[in-house]
Amino acid sequence: MKFLPLIFANLFRKKLRTTLTIGSFAVALFLFGLLIVVRGAFNQGVDVAGADRLIVINKVSLIMPLPFSYRDRFQRIPGVKYVTYDTWFGGVYQEEKNFFPQFAIDPENQALVFPELAVPPDQWKTFLQDRTGAIAGAGTAKRFGWKVGDRIPIKASIFGNETWEFNLDGIYKGTQEGDDETQFWFHDKFLDERRTFSKGTVGWYTVKLNSPDDAVAAAKAIDGMTANSPDETKTETEKAFATGFVKQMGNIEFLILAIGSVVFFTLLLVTGNTMAISVRERIGELATLKAVGFADRFVLLMVLGESMLIALSGGLLGLVFCKLFTMGGDPTGGMLPYFHLSPGAMILGILVAMLVGLLAGILPAASAMRLRVVDALRRV
């Protein structure tokens, strides 16, 4: 502790340079935080996917429907506990930019298959009795200022182009971190009544299993059952489905890794250069410290300490700004509903910043440590 004033004094000898270096760290860590947030947003479905749920889609494509009659057949397969289904509605609320997913659902088994998305019982009861009723996620309701009892007009885009009106009977909330609270549900029967094509079909099935151990056998049985039929299925775990869905948007992981690597490599060079200049400028002072009796190891740790302090300050600053930015919620208007910088990601960011600070300081610190007092004093 008694050496801290020396380290701080060294840091602020060139205020502009230190500020700019701290600023570089802050910008880099802000970006790092944002990349983690975006990655998390894309992978949110993967992270919260139930291990005991299977997604059954049409083997040809996700957008091809499956017959409603499959539900009862799937229900009879060993290991299957409940079966529910959804159909993508793809409507527009007021404007195109107000995106949120709307599903026609199976009210009978929805709550059994997705128990983590909780609706107050009285609201759920109202919904069951209301043919044009709907349930909205808390996030979407908050975003548009909806209250239970509101009338919600949604303009169809797949099933004609008329405006469908729904009664908002309830609002669901996720019960675990990362649950999607942006969905909008309404009765599949209502959809089936009004649509002019593909009647008697659903978008995909979600199968709840007795145990995750049944996943392989049940998936095989489902696909075997539909094999050689006009509507063959492709069954995979919810996690695999979510992963595949993310991959359709490109290799997000690679993109994030590539951008992050370039940013941190550049940061490493910038900070390394700053520290090297800083050491070169005060060779005489370092030699004096050694002459006075400060050990080589102390000089090494002092320079590393300076480098890591810059990294820590800049890193913290960048991550705090990132946290503040993400607290404003999804900036894309619904594309990234889970837009959140977790404490774990912040700790990771600090560790990464410290690592860069350490790496950037190693060479200058080692050269300061190896400095021969006699040679250095001769240069002064």
Partner: protein, 240 residues
């Protein structure tokens, strides 16, 4: 007592025997010190004079444990420093040597107080004890009212006095001064030399000083000339 013929006895504080120091520069071997002997008793104030390149600073570096001789041995207060490892030598310097440089070598981002406190950071003294030592030392050099000034806010003479305070604050065994007045005007130089003389006379500090300036050397009790790698006596030793 200062001797250069190797006849000094066990009461020498600093004893150098048969010191050789050679440098190789551009393939050429340069003998800077050749078989040098020196004995300095406690409390002596010795000035080393000689032309540029005669090896004065090299000798000071060897005696201060900043460099090692090619041959020979140096003993200070019973410790032979010639064969100490780098780490031990650093610890030894912290305990026994106070350095005063021509260019003061203060840390510009630290105040006078913090500069003087530096050697004490290596001790186990408490913060309060360090403060009291630093304040007392700055009073000795006449800078008690400048302790919170940065080096850039001080004159050259004041900076050198801060450097002297830094050199004596941990009460080292001896002081090594390398051209302490070389960067000062006459008036400031005289003030510094008076201070060194006072440290020697009142506080019985052992001081070894390299200088080009005969006026500065006049303040020493003994003056030695370095010529062709060996020391010869100048002013009558003990005549001051």
């Amino acid at each position: 007592m200062v001797k250069v013929d190797g006849s000094g006895g066990a009461n020498s504080l600093i004893q150098a025997r048969d010191l050789d120091k050679t440098f190789t520069r551009g393939g050429e071997v340069i003998d800077v010190l050749q078989g040098l002997n020196l004995d300095v008793a406690p409390g002596e104030f010795v000035a080393f004079m000689g032309p540029s390149g005669s090896g004065k600073s090299t000798l000071l570096n060897l005696l201060g444990g900043l460099d090692v001789p090619t041959r020979g041995r140096i003993t200070v207060a019973g410790d032979e420093i010639t064969h100490m490892s780098g780490g031990r030598l650093t610890e030894w310097r912290a305990r026994h040597v106070g350095f005063i440089f021509q260019m003061y070598n203060l840390i510009p981002v630290l105040t006078a107080f913090q500069n003087v406190e530096l050697p004490l950071l290596l001790t186990k003294l408490s913060k309060a004890e360090r403060r009291s030592h630093v304040e007392a030392t700055l009073s000795i050099v006449g800078l008690a009212d400048r302790m919170h000034h940065y080096p850039r806010q001080l004159s050259g003479g004041q900076e050198q006095r801060v450097a002297i305070a830094r050199a004596i604050v941990a009460d080292p065994t001896f002081l090594l001064c390398d051209e302490p007045t070389g960067d000062l005007d006459r008036k400031s130089a005289d003030e510094i030399l008076d201070l060194l003389t006072r440290l020697s006379a009142e506080y019985n500090k052992t001081i070894l000083m390299v200088t080009h300036d005969p006026a500065a050397a006049e303040h020493a009790k003994a003056v030695l000339h370095l010529n062709k790698g060996v020391l010869v006596e100048g002013k009558a030793i003990g005549a001051h």
